[in-house]
């Protein structure tokens, strides 16, 4: 048994948190005037920036009246001495995909409302995520920053089918739902919410899920270990309980 697991057996987390306690979440909106929506999320000492730029594109042929979102994440070497420059690797891609799925599958953004002209023109939201300080659980910080950036989107004016950057209509994009993402770690038999960087090194398994009002919209298990069905139920219950508490922070 490693020392981290030993301590957890005594009911103690390295930073003194309860097992189901999230570090302090701070959201700062409109961090870049040049984005249609942008935000900074601090989750403890973890810090992530997210921004949304809008584009007018053509819809997919199988959904001619729907716009879309495209999420990209960069694990910048500015945020962690072990990260290297280069195209997104598996870890960055997973973060981008989890943010995408939480928003897409919950239908938080109504893609039909992003239709400008059916079969021809739709809005595409390009969401870019940049990590600036990695102190563990980049996934949830990235998700919260992205959700906050989306919540604040200002719709730009359009002239001759081109976006007039910096000029906005009075329309605000309304999120239909506000799904919240949670990441749990498992060390030995212990389930902990929002693993810190120190805890991440000892994780046997990890489970990320997005929930909204007692509905589960995305899940992803990672790590070499496993979960029992009971543990998964326990995790879902904690997420449902924490959902409202985190939602409140997005004012």
């Amino acid at each position: 048994m490693n020392h981290m697991e030993e301590k957890l057996t005594k009911g103690i987390r390295a930073d003194g948190r309860k097992f189901d306690e999230i570090r302090k979440i701070e959201i700062e909106y409109n961090i870049s005037k040049n984005a249609e929506g942008s935000a900074r999320c601090r989750l403890g000492e973890t810090e992530v920036l997210a921004g949304v730029k809008l584009e007018i594109g053509t819809p997919y042929t199988d959904s001619p009246d729907e716009g879309s979102i495209v999420v990209n994440a960069e694990l910048g070497p500015i945020s962690n001495p072990d990260f290297v420059s280069g195209p997104p690797g598996a870890e960055a891609t997973e973060i981008a995909r989890l943010v995408d799925r939480g928003i897409r599958e919950s239908k938080a953004v109504d893609f039909k409302k992003l239709c400008i002209k059916s079969g021809e023109k739709v809005w595409i939201f390009l969401i870019d995520i940049y990590t600036t300080n990695d102190a563990g659980n980049l996934i949830d910080a990235a998700y919260y920053a992205s959700l906050a950036a989306l919540k604040e989107i200002r719709m730009p004016k359009v002239k001759d089918d081109k976006i007039v950057f910096g000029e906005y209509t009075k329309d605000k994009m309304k999120l239909e739902k506000f799904p919240i993402n949670f990441t749990f770690g498992k060390i030995g038999k212990h389930i902990i919410l929002d693993p810190s960087m120190e805890e991440e090194k000892f994780l046997d398994a990890r489970l990320t899920l997005a929930v909204d009002n007692k509905h589960v919209h995305s899940m992803q298990k990672n790590g070499n270990g496993s979960f029992t069905l009971e543990e998964i139920e326990q995790i879902i219950d904690i997420a449902f309980r924490k959902d409202a508490e985190v939602k409140k922070l997005f004012k």
Partner: protein, 232 residues
């Protein structure tokens, strides 16, 4: 050609409002934020740390490696993530702007990595990046002779100005943009680039204005460092 009044309402020799902060990225060995007008740069320093691959190592002294990048939503038209020719060049001139004040002889075979990100851009991003990087290096405790301050000077219409904003850079009747960096102590010029059309006399006038204004910038950097290292 007459440029009688700056659109921003500033005097010709007036800088935009500055903000500087040290220690913004806890994970890094040194970090800082530098804001001037609507331009915001952050920088983090990692190292000195062992340099890989080994054949790049220098047995005499450590190396400085800078990486400048604009985040995609820092500009009105989304910048595709990843390096471009522009950022590769700026990374290189940033290295050369900072190297003259560094003494890495005590750290052979190592590298000092400096990562600069532009969060919000309204001209002068390379200079803001150098200002942030210089503070981050000092914060990291890398041996330095002094700070480096940077600013763009230039000519807009018929006027010599300092700290051009986007509107001035795009001035319809022509603008000359001259980003410069200088050491605080010896007033040595460590970055000098120029794009435009300017006479020798005007260039001299612009550089003298830059020298004057960089003093203000270095003062701001020093204040931020003092604030960080303040003992309560």
């Amino acid at each position: 050609m007459v440029y009688s009044k700056r659109a921003s309402g500033r005097k010709f020799e007036e800088l935009r409002k500055m903000e500087a902060k040290v220690g913004i990225i806890p994970r890094a060995d040194g970090s800082a934020m530098f804001k001037i007008g609507d331009t915001i740069a952050i920088a983090a320093v990692y190292g000195p740390r062992e340099l890989h691959p080994k054949f790049l190592q220098n047995q005499e002294r450590g190396l400085l490696r800078c990486n400048y990048d604009m985040i995609s939503f820092s500009v009105p038209e989304r910048k595709k993530p990843g390096p471009a020719r522009r950022s590769v060049e700026i990374s290189m001139v940033t290295e050369k702007a900072l190297m003259p004040v560094l003494d890495l002889t005590k750290y052979p075979n190592t590298v000092v990595d400096v990562f600069i990100q532009i969060i919000q851009a309204n001209s002068g991003t390379r200079c803001a990046g150098i200002c942030a990087a210089s503070m981050a290096l000092a914060h990291a405790g890398v041996p330095m002779k002094g700070l480096v301050g940077a600013i763009a000077v230039g000519k807009v219409g018929d006027k010599i100005v300092v700290d051009l904003d986007k509107e001035e850079e795009d001035f319809s009747e022509g603008a000359t943009d001259i980003p410069i960096a200088m050491t605080g102590r010896g007033k040595e010029i460590t970055l000098l680039q120029l794009d435009g059309d300017i006479s020798k006399e005007e260039l001299k006038k612009a550089l003298l204005l830059g020298e004057e204004k960089i003093k203000e910038i270095i003062k701001k950097q020093e204040e931020a460092l003092k604030e960080y290292f303040k003992v309560d």
